[in-house]
């Protein structure tokens, strides 16, 4: 239980830092921080699949994108989601629905097949978003009446955003530290033994997948609000690749001392900053990421691997 207390204190420190951020950062950087927070939640939701189930998905953008579109489409139909909490809820439910649908399909696959399946399923959703113009606005996307104004991030909306992200993350922390999390660890460590002990392995896997999908959906909903705009790129392979990169980078950080729980969050922060810096010098962000992707995988080297 010592580890949990340490994490709780760390979490409190982060909360304090987030509270103080508006006094330290300009509104431009505050907006960047908000983006980082949203991505952090996105990455954390994926890490449930990668670190807890050993299933690195290349299609996690599916839940994120549908969550974002849910907010956008509702707005288009005239229903305002009302603030970060509303966006998070709408997105979360949408992400959950996608996970309900995709779970039975994706979870049947193992190894390379799983990567194939998740990528293909997400790409199909992307294709639908591109083609079903009546619903999604196609390539041109949807404008979301949100907070993205030319004046940069306002403090009030930042607090709302940060609060929701923090709250959901704490919820995840609690859940993963509970008996549920321990069972997931057992499944990851020795699936056969778990089955022989009587555990419903498929059921738990599905539940974890649903959790990951809902989390990503929440991030997507917030993203739509924060960005003020939703387009098929939210469902693209590039987005799935980026969030996976965040998790993989986080794993490397974890191997070098960063806490297990915080590693994907930190990975997200690093990638958001990196992308910001790289993008100001060159348009070749995708190439940089591709190379860095390979690099991070090469670094995996010895030690116990979860996948």
């Amino acid at each position: 239980m010592r580890g949990r207390w340490g994490q709780a204190i760390g979490g409190l420190a982060v909360a304090v830092a987030l509270l103080l951020a508006p006094f330290v950062l300009s509104s431009y950087y505050l907006g960047l921080l908000a983006t980082a927070l949203i991505m952090a939640l996105f990455a954390k939701s994926l890490s449930v699949l990668v670190q807890w189930l050993g299933l690195p998905s290349l299609g996690h953008a599916a839940h994120f994108g549908v969550g974002a579109y849910a907010v956008g489409i509702l707005g288009r139909l005239g229903w305002s989601v009302g603030g970060a909490g509303g966006a998070a809820s709408v997105g979360g439910v949408a992400g959950l629905c996608v996970a309900l649908l995709l779970g039975p399909l994706a979870l049947r696959a193992r190894g390379g097949y799983f990567l194939l399946a998740t990528l293909a399923l997400a790409q199909v959703l992307w294709g639908i978003a591109m083609k079903w113009i009546a619903l999604t606005g196609g390539e041109h996307g949807l404008v979301v009446v949100g907070w993205a104004g030319s004046g940069g991030q306002s403090t009030g909306t930042y607090y709302e955003m940060a609060g929701v992200v923090f709250g959901v993350t704490v919820g995840l922390w609690w859940l993963l530290g509970s008996d549920f999390g321990r069972v997931l660890v057992g499944i990851r460590e020795n699936e056969t033994r778990m089955a022989v002990l009587g555990w419903n392995v498929e059921g738990y896997r599905y539940a974890a997948f649903l959790l990951a999908g809902a989390g990503a959906g929440v991030a997507g909903g917030l993203h739509a609000l924060h960005n003020g705009f939703v387009s098929p790129s939210e469902l693209s392979i590039a987005t799935s690749a980026e969030v996976l990169f965040m998790v993989l980078l986080g794993e490397q950080l974890a191997a070098r001392g960063v806490g297990q729980f915080a590693s994907p969050l930190l990975g997200a922060l690093v990638v958001v900053l990196l992308k910001h810096v790289v993008s100001s010098y060159t348009e070749r962000w995708q190439m940089v990421m591709g190379l860095a992707f390979m690099g991070v995988l090469a670094l995996r080297g010895g030690g116990r691997k979860r996948w």
Partner: protein
């Protein structure tokens, strides 16, 4: 049928083929509640296959299996386990990356949720943590409770293997060559442990170690080339010519 309901375990003409090889041929077995049954036989007789088929890790091709009167032939390993069937593995199949305590918790929590239902079963303290403590003591693992199992000596891992099976509170316990690699003294300890479990638990042991098997068992089944060659009391086995032939005649 009446007989399925009365018995703890009934194997009704089970056949298992691997390609062209027939591993189990119309095997018939009935184990009474609380009985200690030993299944012996030379290498390749099909003993481990029988255990895998019983526990549900492998699907059999023909025949039926009844656990406490329930036809489990189509049920998954997890479902069978929840009916009260537990097992150990010949090669320890533990959670290598976790501590001994964490290992036991997973089994004990399973035992808490669906163990000991209905009649009998391994009796442990009510809560998961409580039964973990009890098992650590029972199986001599207290001194290594926080150790990661990947770094434990073989003897301790073997004990953990048994403890895991017990933690799930099975009413029928299948043991796969539990004395493999154990010393004389350790085998005696294991024998004592099983004796202490009492008659609320049915125990089926697959063994190579004839001495251990005969000491433990109420009845012995001899498997040879996938068939039950002979069955009877331990005291009768030395007179069974077929068994002697199979063990010494080759």
């Amino acid at each position: 049928m009446v007989r399925e309901r009365d018995q703890a375990l009934v194997v009704d003409n089970v056949t298992k083929r691997f390609g062209g090889v027939v591993a189990l041929q119309r095997v018939v077995l009935e184990v009474a509640p609380g009985e200690r049954r030993a299944i012996v036989g030379p290498n390749g007789a099909g003993k481990t296959t029988l255990l895998n088929v019983l526990s549900g890790l492998i699907r059999h091709d023909e025949g039926r299996i009844y656990v406490k009167g329930v036809d489990v032939s189509a049920l998954s390993a997890a479902r069978r386990s929840r009916l009260g069937l537990g097992r150990t593995f010949q090669v320890p199949n533990v959670f290598a990356g976790l501590s001994v305590e964490a290992n036991l918790w997973l089994a004990a929590e399973a035992g808490r949720r669906w163990g000991g239902r209905g009649n009998g079963g391994v009796v442990l303290r009510g809560t998961a943590t409580g039964s973990v403590a009890e098992l650590l003591q029972m199986c001599g693992l207290e001194d290594v409770r926080h150790n990661v199992t990947a770094f434990l000596p073989y003897g301790k891992v073997r004990r953990l293997e048994v403890a895991l099976a017990l933690a799930a509170r099975p009413s029928i316990l299948l043991l796969d060559e539990p004395t493999a690699g154990l010393s004389e003294a350790e085998s005696e300890e294991l024998l004592e442990l099983i004796r202490k479990l009492g008659r609320s638990v049915t125990v089926v042991v697959v063994e190579h170690n004839m001495e251990f098997a005969l000491k433990l068992a109420d009845r012995v089944s001899v498997l040879h080339q996938g068939r039950v060659l002979w069955e009877g009391k331990p005291s009768e086995i030395t007179n069974a010519s077929e068994v002697v032939q199979v063990y010494f005649g080759e």
